[in-house]
């Protein structure tokens, strides 16, 4: 009897101390694929998030509380993403979650976040047509990546545009928006290549050429582009994803098409993806993001150096330390954490409703890519850069647009 009550007291004390400890920290979710096809890209985001938490914790945390990351693995499996999101929100009761890469993973977790009134910070370029009160989109909207690239081409005197992409939601939606945008700029339908699909009434429901993930045979498509570009003034807008870029660019180079004759702008190749691409075959091709590692500013230099230093000393298992670069999704993850921190501090609370209100009121943070400001529509205003690829896998910035307002609803706006 006596013994058992002593145990009880001990257990109670333990619980109390655990509780006290919990009071000093705030749980934050990290929801990325650490295995499966998307792991190549998403592990980098996990790494940069852990780095950011360490950086904030070293300076005293958020509202005096240390950030305690809860890292879960979505395993490139979309239903599993929803399950893991449920676990984060209902079991771990995280204050905020940073995560998701593909649009389909975001769409899978969206109902979970809406049901539990959670808050998700989403960092990867996306197709728009969505505006949830439970998602802070630090990602590039279409008008912060795709339309500036088209503007650049138009200014360069390009008249013909070939649309090419991987077959899933982001390229399909982006190309439809771009089609409308190009038409509004006076580019005739004949000058837009890749083919169209129409529904019964003749309305265009899909524009451009699409290939499945893992497609390797680009002979036919490149031959088509070669004919399309025969009379000059043509360019390619590519939303091809990951692996398929290798056979595409190899074929493109072999056909004699170059950045001078018919440049390609890719929306899915960043510095991180370059690690697996033959960079010398992409020299001069364009990329368009809201951050490049080559940005020449003290803030960016410090960020890159700090991240490299963190990589050297970190003991987190599975972190690749060699040959790391920084890229836009990584920086938007980093910026997202700081925006959340600022919103929490402005609200004086971790409560999602109060944090959201603070976020919507317009918070600014000077990140590695310049100043970012949150908007009432849960998106973020930021600078947009157009870069040319160099043989070392970095980008040379050729044009920038300042403070571009993130606008998710673009369809029907260009008429």
């Amino acid at each position: 009897m006596f013994k058992s009550s002593r145990y009880l007291i001990a257990a109670g004390a333990l619980l109390a101390s655990a509780y006290a400890q919990a009071a000093d920290t705030v749980k934050v979710g990290v929801l990325h694929s650490l295995s499966g096809t998307m792991a190549i890209s998403e592990t980098s985001l996990r790494d940069v998030l852990l780095f950011t938490f360490d950086e904030i914790n070293a300076k005293g945390g958020v509202l005096g509380k240390k950030i305690e990351p809860v890292v879960v693995d979505g395993a490139s499996n979309w239903p599993l993403f929803a399950e893991k999101a449920t676990q984060l929100l209902e079991q771990d009761k995280v204050a905020v979650t940073f995560g998701c890469w593909t649009s389909v993973s975001r769409k899978s977790v969206l109902p979970v976040f809406e049901k539990n009134n959670g808050l998700l910070f989403y960092p990867v370029q996306y197709e728009g047509e969505e505006e949830s009160q439970n998602v802070a989109y630090t990602a590039e909207a279409v008008n912060q990546q795709a339309t500036p690239a088209v503007d650049y081409y138009l200014a360069e005197g390009k008249k013909k545009f070939y649309l090419l992409g991987s077959d899933y939601v982001y390229p399909q939606t982006t190309n439809l928006v771009l089609l409308e945008y190009l038409l509004s700029k006076g580019v005739p339908l004949d000058n837009i290549g890749g083919g169209f699909r129409r529904d019964g009434s003749g309305k265009i429901i899909s524009a451009g050429k699409y290939t499945p993930f893992g497609h390797t045979d680009y002979q036919q498509i490149v031959a088509e582009i070669k004919q399309f570009a025969a009379s000059g003034d043509a360019c390619v807008i590519s939303t091809l994803n990951g692996d398929t870029n290798v056979p595409f660019f190899k074929e493109y180079a072999a056909s004699g098409l170059t950045a001078e004759t018919c440049p390609v702008v890719s929306f899915s190749i960043s510095e991180d993806e370059f690690r697996g691409l033959p960079a010398d075959q992409l020299v001069g091709q364009l990329g368009c993001w809201t951050y490049f590692q080559s940005i020449d500013s003290p803030a960016n230099k410090k960020f890159v150096a700090d991240f490299q230093a963190w990589l050297k000393k970190t003991t987190v298992p599975g972190v690749v330390k060699e040959g790391r670069v920084t890229c836009s999704p990584m920086v938007l993850s980093y910026v997202g954490v700081y925006l959340w921190k600022a919103a929490v501090e402005k609200a004086g609370s971790f409560d999602v409703d109060k944090v959201r209100a603070a976020f919507k009121s317009g918070i600014s943070f000077d990140g590695p890519g310049g100043r970012v400001t949150s908007q009432p529509n849960m998106h973020v205003t930021k600078n947009v850069f157009i870069g040319e690829t160099k043989a070392d896998g970095q980008f040379k910035i050729v044009k920038s647009f300042d403070n571009v307002y993130g606008e998710p609803w673009l369809k029907g706006k260009f008429k």
Binding site: P247, A254, G284
Partner: protein, 590 residues
């Protein structure tokens, strides 16, 4: 030649085509290099257009190829060009861009500089395009017909009327037939802008005779314009010229499809030949065949790095540094030739290891061999991941495999031409081995009737091992090739295993001839479908109920083509279950 070039440029001066040089070209280029912003650099470079100074082409060429650097010593930065051979420290002779003289140090001695310590003068696509505009004027009289025709073409495509005089002047003197054709086209394209109808008509007649693909857009524009102005004769001429171009295009498309079909067929063939041996002759369902391909591809990657700067492999937790030979230039380009036999050997060795450790217990038990080799395939993929990382590794194409050979607008990529030639070579080699060597005889004997062969004194175990090694080695060769065309990653083999089995099964298990025919057949049909499905799509509307659905599906030619090919194969196997060629065997158990 230089003399003629200068003479020509001087004779052109009075035509008002080329502006006389106000300032020395060197000074302008130095100014451009040091200009604070890109737009100013571009304007300065563009201002060189028509300047006949001979120093311009080599300097701009050096700029484009990263041979110009900024040397900082003291107050003013000095742009220099590094030339000549590198010495032991990697330093080269430096020439001042502003004077063309060697850069001197304080003691008056020529300086030698290493590029690593200097800032290279950078360039962007729009600047390179501006340079091209300047160089094109020089290139019109370049001794290289390729450069001539490219320059002429760009004038034509720009419909640059100011260049018409130069082009017309060149026309009677041009001897190279290809350049002559380009000249005629450029002249006609520029004349298309002429206000007079007769000039326009003559230009249209010329374009009709030339029927080049690049004139399509211009003809379309001319037709539209003529129709708007109700100019009957011009519209008719434009229409007939367009018709000529279109019929040329369909010939090009047809020949191009044929070539692409052959090239895809060759790839399927090299990927499937090894399987034709292991599956066809030995009846072993080797699901790890794809990984043998990957072994070949990774070997190519390693050889490339050994020829270059070396590579470090994180080998199961240990770091295994492999030193490189540090070759550059043409010596480095040989890496691919060296990689071919090595990838064959590497894959053969892995294959023999697999045969000894797993497969030798599983002959005549196809289902077990399927399961076991599938396991091996997963293990090998994980090994690649541990050794080379989950990311794709970069394999660059050697110079002789990049670029293309264009015959009458049909594009023949060198890598594809090479793979076709090579496929023929391996088929021939395999035929030699199987039918002309004693090993081939033993292989055929053991595969037809193992027991009988063993009774006759054939060491069938060894023959099995060597046959499996041969099949795996062929897969390795395929991998070396595929590294030139697509990704080299841990799952490389997965994308080819299905295709390989498809080819072997359709061809008739055990028949090499069937494998060849089915590879080219499947490759050809696939390319034809990819090419023509979008054109046929509108015709699918008549299908009741699902017409619209089919139309949309057919737009995605790459996917729908594959579906149709697979469907076709299934139907074909219903009709001929044993494939194209049935092999007759004397063994009793079949």
């Amino acid at each position: 030649m230089k003399y003629i070039q200068r003479l020509l440029l001087i004779t052109l001066l009075p035509l008002g085509v080329i502006a006389p040089a106000a300032e020395s070209a060197r000074a302008t280029i130095v100014q451009a290099i040091l200009a604070p912003d890109a737009a100013q650099t571009r304007t300065l470079i563009t201002s060189l257009t028509g300047n006949p100074d001979e120093v311009i082409p080599p300097l701009l060429e050096a700029w484009r190829t990263d041979q110009l650097f900024i040397y900082r010593h003291g107050e003013t930065p000095v742009p220099v060009q590094l030339t000549g051979e590198k010495d032991a420290d990697g330093a080269r002779a430096a020439l001042r861009v502003d004077s063309g003289e060697p850069l001197l140090d304080a003691a008056g001695q020529p300086l030698r500089l290493a590029s690593s310590g200097l800032k290279a003068v950078d360039h962007t696509t729009s600047l390179r395009r501006a340079m091209k505009g300047v160089l094109d004027v020089f290139d019109i009289v370049s001794p290289d017909p390729n450069r001539r025709s490219k320059a002429i073409q760009s004038f034509g495509l720009a419909q640059d009327t100011t260049k018409l005089a130069i082009l017309l002047e060149r026309l009677p003197r041009e001897t190279d037939p290809r350049v002559h054709r380009a000249l005629r086209e450029a002249v006609a394209l520029i004349q298309l802008k002429d206000a007079k109808d007769e000039v326009k008509l003559a230009a249209l007649a010329e374009l009709k005779a030339l029927h080049t693909l690049s004139s399509t857009d211009f003809l379309q524009r001319a037709l539209k314009e003529a129709e708007e102005k109700k100019n009957e004769p011009v519209a008719t001429a434009a229409k007939s010229a367009m018709y000529a171009v279109e019929s040329h295009r369909s010939t090009v498309d047809f020949l191009g499809t044929l070539f692409r079909g052959f090239s895809l067929g060759s790839i399927l063939l090299v990927a499937a030949l090894g399987l034709a041996i292991t599956f066809g002759l030995m009846r072993v369902i080797n699901m790890a065949h794809g990984e043998m391909i990957a072994v070949g591809a990774y070997t190519t990657y390693l050889v490339q790095n050994i020829f270059g700067a070396g590579v470090t492999i994180p080998f199961f937790g240990f770091s295994l540094p492999i030193p490189g030979m540090g070759l550059t230039g043409s010596a480095y380009q040989w890496y691919f030739i060296a990689a071919l036999p090595l990838s064959f050997l590497a894959a053969a060795i892995v294959g023999i290891g697999l045969e000894r450790s797993v497969i030798q217990w599983l002959y005549r038990r196809p289902l077990e061999s399927l399961l076991a080799t599938w396991g091996v395939s997963l293990i090998l993929q994980q090994v690649f991941r541990l050794m080379f990382g989950a990311n794709n590794v970069q394999v660059s194409s050697p110079v002789y495999l990049s670029g293309n050979w264009t015959v009458n607008d049909v594009l023949l990529g060198w890598n594809r031409v090479f793979v076709i030639g090579f496929a023929i070579l391996i088929v021939f080699g395999m035929w030699l081995v199987l039918s002309k060597t004693s090993l081939g005889l033993l292989i055929r004997a053991s595969m037809q009737n193992r027991q009988m062969a063993a009774c006759m004194g054939v060491r069938t175990e060894r023959v099995n091992m060597l046959t499996f090694g041969l099949g795996s080695g062929l897969a390795g060769l395929a991998g070396a090739f595929l590294s030139q065309i697509g990704n080299v990653g841990p799952s490389l083999g997965q994308s080819y295993i299905i295709d390989s089995f498809m080819v072997v099964v359709v061809g008739g298990v055990g028949s090499i001839a069937g494998t060849i025919i089915s590879a080219f057949g499947i490759g050809g049909i696939d390319q034809v479908l990819q090419q023509y499905l979008p054109y046929w799509a509108p015709g699918l509307a008549w299908v009741p109920g699902i017409g619209g659905f089919l139309q949309n599906l057919a737009q995605d030619a790459a996917v729908f083509g594959k579906i149709l090919v697979l469907g076709g194969i299934i139907l074909f196997l219903q009709w001929k279950p044993a494939g194209l060629f049935v092999t007759r065997s004397r063994s009793l158990d079949e």
